[in-house]
């Protein structure tokens, strides 16, 4: 197992090279002249040329990329074109904010989704099932900016219970976590339900029931454990997505996370900042995927046998 983990972590290196290369070239091909974007609105040709020289943008893209990778190898992610701030410091400042929010959001999502999913599956086609499913669907089909602003209007403006935005104390986590969590809950709920349905009809469940194992124990010990693989996959994916930042929700709640940072950087063609963000995302996703794959092994011993 530990050999497998090391192998996966080593695999991260080619992935990182692939990602940075891909993104560097996508950025250089995407519309808009980088020097013009840095110079800002209404800058004059002279300014733009001076910036092009200063940042080495007059060099061929491959040379720029080579220089970037050389610096990266020495642990230097460079400075933002736009604000001249150190990329690593900026991302290291924003990432914990996103991570904390992502953690609470996924917790909200799982807390909503697992019970509803399990109950729906055990009482298929009952009232509880139908209502639960519709409620879960409302979560995914409601635009985040709409839900977010409605929550602000209700809980901040009308009731005065919660701060309208910013990251200040535990109260400020509630509304953004609900906004993000309800969106993610739908998929997890439905995945839990359908996966449970699949499993409860398996022979070993029938066997367990026949043996007289109490229904609760059947669900918890036999059904749930076997139904978890697709559920864990989805939770992992959703959590990874959340760690990439949720731009709209961050915007509505004035949350200083990586979503806004990354989108702003992409829009202004701030190459070092975008790459820094992408490297962070790659590492995060890879680690989460690895964790999910390891979890598979714990849940299903048959899969464990494949990890060598």
């Amino acid at each position: 197992m530990s050999k497998y983990i090391v192998k996966r972590l080593i695999m991260l290196i080619p992935v990182l090279i692939g990602v940075t290369f891909l993104v560097y070239f996508i950025l250089s091909m995407s519309p808009g002249d980088t020097a013009t974007m840095i110079a800002g609105e209404g800058a004059e040709a002279e300014t733009i040329e001076a910036i092009r020289k200063e940042y080495g943008l007059d060099q061929p893209v491959i040379a720029q990329y080579g220089k970037y990778m050389w610096n990266l190898l020495r642990g230097d992610m460079g400075r933002s074109y736009l604000t001249k701030r150190d990329v690593f410091t900026t991302i290291a400042g924003a990432f914990p904010n996103t991570a904390k929010l992502a953690f609470w959001s996924i917790l909200v999502a799982v807390a909503i989704a697992l019970p509803i999913g399990i109950i729906s599956a055990t009482r298929q086609y009952s009232m509880v099932d139908n209502v639960g499913m519709v409620a879960a669907l409302l979560g995914v089909a409601t635009p985040n900016f709409w839900l977010g602003l409605m929550l602000i209007i209700l809980f901040s403006l009308k009731l005065g219970w919660l701060p309208s935005g910013g990251m200040n104390g535990w109260q400020s986590y509630i509304m953004p976590a609900i906004t993000l969590g309800t969106g993610d809950a739908a998929l997890i709920t439905r995945m839990t339900r359908s996966s449970m349905l699949e499993v409860v009809r398996q022979d070993y469940i029938r066997t367990a029931r026949a043996k007289g194992v109490p229904e609760k124990a059947v669900i918890r010990k036999h059904a749930l454990k076997n139904a978890l693989i697709p559920v864990v996959t989805v939770i992992g994916l959703q959590f990874g997505g959340l760690l990439g930042g949720a731009t709209l929700t961050e915007t509505i709640f004035a949350w200083p996370g990586v979503g806004r940072l990354l989108v702003d950087s992409i829009k202004s063609k701030d190459t070092p900042m975008v790459l820094g963000g992408v490297i962070m995302l790659t590492i995060t996703f890879s680690v989460i995927n690895l964790l999910v794959d390891i979890l598979y092994a714990f849940i299903d011993p048959r899969i464990k046998a494949q990890y060598r």
């Binding site: 002249d33 040709a45 604000t83 509505i252 004035a254 200083p256």
Partner: protein, 532 residues
């Protein structure tokens, strides 16, 4: 250059200097000068006179966009400039009517059309305790010549000579009447030579710990969250009323106004046309508005297809209903633009009239130009607001017989496409915060700016000559008239259809006092306080 006009020009500018010198003299009495002095001084007496009396005035603001820089010579955006205004001083500053006032300069005189002699205020301290001297000013000006954003204007500075600790002479390469306006800009804030040199010594950058002479010193900046500054006790001017100012970044306008309504922030900056109504509707809040120094326009590509014909351009101008755009896009909070520069800029032609909406006239002009059977034009845009304007223009021009296809671009793609001249029409805005009319003319309409900001591709010899003449004319009165003439000529050429002048807006708590709102020269929050 134009030496023949020198004597007259010199006389005029010397006269102007005398008037302005009055500002400098008045200031040495200890005020921070201009409109600020009255407001600040007055409130201070009410509040008890001493800084200690209002020591706990902690003010929170909210704005929609984060700052980019704290190094003045790197700064080009209004959000950073708002912060710089609290941290730094310039040699000069602009009054409410764009007149030049003294700031760190105590007095100045123009010795000839290339030479400016400046006497500095004494006893000005930087935030690190050292004194501001002529060497810092020289350092700043020479630094500006090196930096990408400032070199366009700073290149006109030929040399800076130090005559003493508080005395220096600036020589320009050419007659450059915009110099004092340029030196009043936030990007020409005076930095400390010692601090900057130390910070940049080992390939580092200066702006992480900015040190200025301003009323506030820097505390912290958390990107995308907030910045905080606190009162600088050794400030040379009036002690500010606020002891600490925090500005939070709240991107969504509606959330910003809600934060203001709940009292989480004391001032919401740039609330916008739609949300302004919510501020007005709440009796605990006050809405501050003023015409901004920007003009929004429909640019026409004068070198492509049908729009190369002046009559077609005029037809478009007759076809667009600007009032409907003001009423819809700005919710009525703004004015139809009558001219090609912001109405707060000196030299704005107040007697010019926008083309009225006249469908018949527009159709006649099109028929005359040979497009009576209809015409198809592509309109390039970016952003939500301009997308709305574009949809109105599309509907309006369809009544004239012009079929408009809207192509929406992401910002980078738009600038690239428009610079390359792929467009028929585009919508953009131009904000002139320098206070000097040239910044509204040379970059936009001179043929040498094609490929950078002259995206209407207008290249007219007479226009070029008029722009250069005005740019280098040292006689202020004659210069202003020249700019008015340029605008009249531009209306005939119609490289643009000027659309509107929008309102700058800010909402504040009704009981908050001392917030100095200025659409033209930028807001100042240093004297914000509550009387309790």
């Amino acid at each position: 250059m134009r030496r023949q006009g020198m004597k007259r020009g010199l006389a005029a500018i010397l006269a102007a200097a005398m008037v302005l010198g009055g500002c400098g003299g008045g200031q040495s009495a200890g005020g921070s000068g201009g409109g600020q002095q009255a407001a600040g001084g007055g409130s201070q007496t009410e509040a008890g006179g001493t800084a200690g009396g209002v020591a706990d005035s902690v003010i929170t603001l909210g704005d929609g966009v984060d700052i980019k820089h704290m190094d003045p010579q790197e700064t080009d955006d209004i959000y950073s400039m708002f912060l710089l205004k609290h941290l730094y001083n310039k040699l000069f500053k602009l009054g409410e009517n764009n007149e030049i006032l003294c700031d760190l300069a105590e007095s100045y005189d123009v010795e000839d059309e290339l030479t400016y002699h400046i006497v500095l205020r004494q006893g000005v301290k930087f935030h690190d305790g050292s004194e501001m001297k002529a060497s810092d000013v020289k350092f700043t000006l020479e630094r500006a010549k090196e930096k990408a954003g400032t070199k366009v204007n700073a290149k006109y500075i030929d040399s800076v000579t130090i005559n003493g600790d508080y005395d220096l002479t600036i020589k320009t390469t050419d007659p450059y009447p915009s110099l004092l306006y340029f030196l009043s800009g936030e990007s020409m804030s005076i930095v400390s030579e010692a601090v900057v040199t130390a910070a940049e010594a080992n390939g580092g950058i200066y702006e992480e710990q900015p040190v200025g002479t301003g009323p506030f010193k820097f505390v912290e900046w958390m990107p995308n969250d907030h910045w905080t500054i606190e009162r600088f006790d050794d400030y040379f001017g009036d002690t500010p009323m606020a002891s600490s100012i925090t500005c939070r970044v709240i991107p969504e306008a509606s959330a910003r106004v809600i934060a203001l309504e709940t009292g989480e922030i004391d001032v919401a900056l740039n609330v916008g046309a739609v949300e302004a109504a919510n501020v007005e509707a709440n009796s605990d809040l006050v809405l501050e508005t003023g015409i901004s120094p920007a003009v929004s326009y429909l640019g026409l590509n004068t070198q492509k297809g049908a729009l190369a014909d002046q009559r077609v351009r005029q037809a478009v101008a007759y076809g667009v209903n600007k009032q409907e755009i003001v009423d819809t896009i700005l919710e009525g909070r703004g004015e139809v633009a009558n001219s090609f520069m912001g109405k707060t800029i000196p030299g704005w032609n107040e007697s010019l009239e926008a083309y009225p909406r006249d469908v018949e006239k527009a159709k006649a002009l099109l028929a005359e130009a040979g497009y009576g059977d209809g015409l198809k034009l592509e309109l390039f845009i970016n952003g939500d607001q301009n997308n709305r304007s574009a949809q109105l223009i599309q509907a309006q021009l369809s009544e004239v017989g012009i079929d408009v296809e809207i192509s929406m671009y992401e910002w980078g793609a738009l600038t690239e496409a428009v610079k390359a001249g792929k467009h028929d029409m585009f919508i953009m805005g131009w904000a002139n915060r320098s206070g000097d009319p040239d910044y509204s003319m040379s970059p936009l309409f001179h043929s040498s700016s094609i490929g950078s900001n002259n995206s209407s591709f207008i290249a007219d010899d007479k226009l070029d000559e008029m722009i250069i003449t005005a740019k280098t004319d040292m006689d202020n009165e004659r210069r202003m008239q020249e700019y008015k003439d340029i605008q009249t000529y531009l209306k005939e050429l119609s490289p643009w259809v000027p659309l509107y002048y929008s309102m700058s807006t800010a909402g504040r708590r009704a009981d908050l006092e001392g917030f100095e709102f200025s659409a033209a020269t930028g807001n100042y929050a240093g004297n914000c306080h509550y009387n309790k």
